[in-house]
Symmetry: C2
Subunit: 243 residues, 2 copies
């Protein structure tokens, strides 16, 4: 069997007109009573909740995006649930890529550990990463050609501009990051960028810079990103390119 390839999996979903990505940010405290299994622990409950979401949405989505923050809050039991969730997606919907929304970023030696964790232990197809340490630090991620490396460019929080809008020779920092991600950092062709749906103007600027590169666009839903504006600003030359 050929190795799973993030970009190919994604393109196949786009081909079917699917652009929705469901976050699996399973805050244990907010899981409805109905999803709690009799006698099950935290990990079992999180997994049972995620399975319901996956079963209900797997014909509609182009990707799933679990965020380790919500699992790490419960330590090793949470990690077990995270791995089991990705395993369940791989079994129940093997055609749908999984983005580990881990926002990792360390120096090279430590990123080797994060690379092993995301791709070899958890079996995710892509990961989100911080650009602040530069591209040499991210080498172990970039080296995995078949995986997606999604560089955090413009985050969806209200105060994201505090650093990301700072101007370097007249150009906002988030656009400098987009240029790097679409240029020298993309030597293996497996780079993407993330821009929050809460900033459609910035999203349009990034689309101009990155061409037809995939853009992960979180922030529709509880964060109230505008869906229509987002699609107008985010689509690529083929009317695709959005997650």
């Amino acid at each position: 069997m050929a190795e799973r390839n993030f970009r190919q999996l994604l393109e196949a979903q786009w081909e079917q007109g699917k652009f929705l990505c469901v976050g699996l940010d399973s805050d244990f405290e907010k899981i409805p009573e109905a999803a709690r299994q009799a006698g099950g622990g935290i990990g079992d409950t999180m997994l049972a909740f995620n399975r319901i979401i996956i079963d209900t949405t797997k014909d509609l989505v182009c990707a799933y995006k679990p965020n380790p923050a919500f699992y790490e809050a419960h330590g090793d039991e949470g990690w077990k649930a995270l791995r089991a969730t990705i395993q369940y997606i791989n079994e129940a919907a093997p055609e749908i890529p999984v983005i580990l929304d881990a926002k990792r970023g360390d120096i090279g030696n430590s990123n080797i550990g994060y690379t092993a964790s995301a791709f070899d232990h958890l079996h995710a197809d892509a990961i989100t990463v911080h650009p602040y340490f530069g591209s040499d630090a991210l080498a172990s991620f970039f080296a995995r050609k078949e995986k997606g490396v999604i560089v955090l460019c413009r985050s969806s929080n209200a105060g994201s501009g505090e650093l990301q809008d700072l101007k370097v020779d007249g150009v906002p920092l988030y656009q400098i990051v987009a240029r790097m991600a679409a240029g020298p950092w993309n030597a293996q062709g497996n780079c993407s960028v993330m821009v929050g749906a809460t900033f459609p103007e910035e999203l349009a600027e990034v689309r101009k810079i990155v061409g037809d590169m995939p853009i992960l666009i979180p922030g529709i839903g509880v964060q109230n990103g505008d869906l229509e504006k987002t699609v107008q600003a985010g689509k690529d030359s083929r009317g695709r390119g959005m997650i």
Copy 2:
């Protein structure tokens, strides 16, 4: 019993002339055969190795610094070893603070999960965080007054300047981050910064900006940071301030 306070624990170690921080970056593949327990799994072996290091160094150090990357590579078993390692430090050397070198950075809602993981589940006394998303994203860390929040300022890798040296109105980005961390981000008085020992000139610039704030200075050892230059550049007005 009063809650452990990172800054107080650290000052007490500095008072005794201790400035050394030992990283617990326990790469399983590099653990010597002698430290492998007969019949023990990965987690047991990592913990056994860490216990030897802790027993041998606890009279010499001002802090321990485990990096989750090396534990996450082994999933939930690694996480169990990480928690057990910090628990062992808290028992064997309760006076020594533990810095979780997690380099986390997400939006506020997710950072609540990372805050719970670092401080409530793992019982670390401080955490390293990415500045890229801005201070609103880091609110859940800052709110924990008794914990240390160490903002990544200038990383120790060779290519760290790729973003960190970019000039904003003539000032390098890492200095802008240091100004924010020492100024508005430090409303609770629990902020510190990190500057790699591989860049003594940049360290001296950051010391000028942050006054007597603690600076975490990784990079002595395998990364070949110069100890004498680092101490000259890094010490505060009291001849302290370094981890």
